[in-house]
């Protein structure tokens, strides 16, 4: 994963609440054992009038010509709720989204974003409404939207996104601590171990 760069883009307003991961990528679109090739199925139930022939629904916001190539998505409360499928994030990323702004997120989805180079930003609804149809600049380093709106992100999440770090390598850097823990934990909770 490469590090997160500043994003300047028009934002797509998908201002609904509870957009669940089944909607972001329907199960029927997850055909391969792969993290790739999913963008075609992104929002398939809403994006296509005819899913089989991939006939676009002109009324769905993603199909609006103004928003082609946009890297920022605006949405309502609880975006990415429901199923844990990481495919939702892989599909959004492959489609080109790098930032999702919503008042709140499904918790598994939020973590999945951080791991896959998408910046999830929590922002009040009234502030989100003001971003609609504007080209906005998102800078992660300074945690600012358009240089004037601040957003919060946990330092560890920020670091992961900025540096594009690998989770497993980070964890393995604590190998000594993990081994020590296991050693004393086996004494404390011998019943919890299966060997």
């Amino acid at each position: 994963m490469t590090g997160f760069k500043t994003v300047i883009s028009l934002a797509v307003p998908l201002l609904r609440i509870n957009v669940d991961t089944d909607t972001i990528i329907p199960s029927r679109e997850m055909k391969q054992i792969s993290k790739k090739g999913l963008s075609d199925g992104l929002f398939a139930g809403w994006r296509y009038l005819n899913e089989k022939n991939r006939i676009l629904d002109p009324d769905f916001v993603l199909n609006d010509s103004r928003y082609q190539g946009s890297q920022i998505l605006l949405s309502g409360d609880n975006f990415g709720c429901g199923s844990s499928r990481e495919h939702a994030v892989w599909a959004l990323h492959e489609y080109g989204f790098r930032v999702i702004i919503a008042p709140s997120f499904g918790s598994i989805f939020y973590k999945n974003c951080i791991r896959n180079g998408i910046l999830p930003i929590r922002l009040q609804k009234n502030q989100i409404d003001k971003l609609v149809d504007n080209t906005i600049t998102i800078e992660l380093k300074s945690q600012k939207i358009d240089k004037n709106i601040d957003f919060d992100i946990a330092p560890a999440d920020k670091n992961m996104l900025l540096l594009g770090l690998d989770d497993i390598d980070i964890n393995l850097s604590y190998s000594n601590k993990i081994e020590e823990f296991e050693k004393s934990d086996r004494k404390r909770r011998p019943w919890a171990y299966l060997t």
């Binding site: 509870n18 199960s27 054992i33 990481e86 604590y174 909770r189 019943w191 299966l194």
Partner: protein, 471 residues
Amino acid sequence: MVAKTLFEKLWDIHTVCNLADGVDLIYIDRIFLHERTGSISLVGLDEAGRKIPNPEKVFCTMDHIVDTYADRDDNTSMPDGRNFIETTRIKTQKAGIRLFDIGDNQQGIVHVISPEQGIILPGLTLVCPDSHTCTQGAFGALAWGIGSTETEQALATNVLRLEKPKSMLIRFEGTCSPGVTAKDIILHLIGKHTAFGGVGYVVEFSGEAIDELSMEGRMTLCNMSVEFGAFSGLIAVDQKTIDYVKGRQFAPKEELWEEALNSWKDLNSDHDATFDKEIVIDANVIKPTISWGTNPGQSISFYDPIPSPEDFQDSNLKSAAKKALSYMDLKAGDFLENLKIDAAFIGSCTNSRLSDLRRVSKILKHKKIAPHVRAICVPGSTEVKRKAEEEGIDKIFIDAGFEWRESGCSMCFFAGGESFGFEERVISSTNRNFEGRQGPKTRTHIASPETVAASAIAGHISIATKMDADQ
């Protein structure tokens, strides 16, 4: 000593160390996989050349993609499903992971078989790339759903880096009326406090109404914590928990059992512990509850009218209600009763355990489902199915007009294979009523298995009367 909540105790037991900025390194005791999302983690690790150091703590099942028809094999009605099944088999074998394969008498839905086999135990941490992993919090364990990449992390390193969620207590005062089940309790909670009321929290359920629930009822309740938006759900350990776990295949035995009992004594919240948030609910007022809309927060008592968008102050909830009414083809002010259904489904990790099927069989006995209804029962595990058959429950379902299936997730979700029809109305004992969840444009009403059975007989949405259940 400072008073701690159950959640804090579990967190502390598993904290390897505190890292910077409020992130903790948390030790993972068990990992469960299934062929749909687990396969991706196993392939991902393989491609990265990473090893799984402790395969003995990892388990895998075939539940999501596999068909539930009799005489099923590796071919699936879901397109390309065979690839998932075969890959899962090859990769688990290579890694030395115990797989509950098709035809194995321990096969079943992950959150049903994990407790059934004694894989989840009080006081453990368990993760699985599946959001309903929270089901297993019913055992006083910290169990939660994670993504596929996070699963790779847990498999390869036995730890996850996490920020500590906040804690919420949901206390039920009094007891539930007869005929009100665990499913009604959780739908009531989500209906009153929205599908995102629990975001950021581990929620602990407590109170007399919870003490009274069987372990299977507690699993139903915790199963839908994620539908409340919670990180996970929890219930303190009591004698029922211990009786349930004792003697199960992967549960500790003999001396280890005694040591385990000793460490489980403390798995409850200290009485003076403080939570970040508390909700109190009067259990007496809970009625049989059914979803009318397209998320579980859109649920109402059977006796209440379908709300109008105008009933919601919040503009988001208002527009969500409007969309849901249109998708579900409902009119505000109408009642769910008498709404004609096309299909009835009893299954899923929420409500397909033996006690669910037993209760339903009482309602179905000597009855027939309405002729226009297609009704399907999919037991939660092969063992549930076998035990139900020993008791003759399968006959009651079949005589009433239900299909009786092999175990799996089946039509709880639509993945391009089997589904309910276009704009069909389904009453379902599952946990998600999202748009398209059970088929393209399918309209799902989630409810207790009792309500599903009573509706299947009536041909329209209906609840079980005391008479039905007492027969």
